[in-house]
Amino acid sequence: MNTRIKEYRTRLTLTQDDLAKKVGVRRETIVFLEQGKYNPSLKLAHDVATTLNATIDELFIFDDEPETAELPEKPESRVVLED
């Protein structure tokens, strides 16, 4: 698992300690989260994402999905032929 937490955190000029205090965990947990070594609970992932103004999908990249998540294409409009 890879994360973009560091990227988003530095964008908001937050330190690891600041983020840890905002989401109510220890700084070490943020370190392990950024390194992708810790698999957080949904609640913690949500709290981190909310604090960093991002979604969980944007922050956490799992090994079986591409690293640059692209927006899904719009579904093609279908013409319904009526009798």
Partner: protein
């Protein structure tokens, strides 16, 4: 947090009192076991507990207030694994005892359990904390 420290202070005081009672019982000959070292160790542990709690209350020693989900997860997993390991050791010792290969008395069994549980919990805790999360397999 203050409540936890006060509880620790109370527990430390109880341990000191129990150690003193044991010391008096040993010295007066009420208990056949005449090893005073046990009661001295209990009293020393109680004093250490009380001193640490007092230092925390006065703010001389700071302990991290946040006990986050990672720590709780590691702790729960560590104790579970330590219990399973100790249970396995107990089973093996039981089989050896029943087969007559290795006869142990109750004191040996208790000390083995305390040792295996304490040591395995300590080592696992260190291992998991170093890796940041629990690792299966």
């Amino acid at each position: 947090m203050k409540k936890i420290i006060q509880n620790n202070l109370f527990i430390g005081s109880i341990v000191i009192i129990l150690g003193l009672i044991l010391f008096i019982l040993i010295v007066s000959g009420w208990i056949p076991e005449n090893n005073i070292l046990i009661s001295v160790c209990i009293i020393a542990a109680g004093i250490l507990f009380v001193v640490l709690s007092v230092l925390q209350l006065r703010g001389i020693i700071e302990i991290p207030e946040v006990s986050d989900e990672r720590i709780l997860k590691i702790r729960a997993h560590t104790f579970m694994k330590a219990y399973l390991f100790s249970f396995t050791v107990t089973c093996i010792l039981g089989i050896l005892n029943l087969s007559g290969i290795f006869i142990m008395n109750s004191r040996d069994v208790i000390m083995t359990l305390v040792f295996t549980m304490g040591l395995s919990a300590f080592l696992l805790s260190m291992y998991y904390n170093r890796h940041g999360d629990i690792i299966e397999g």
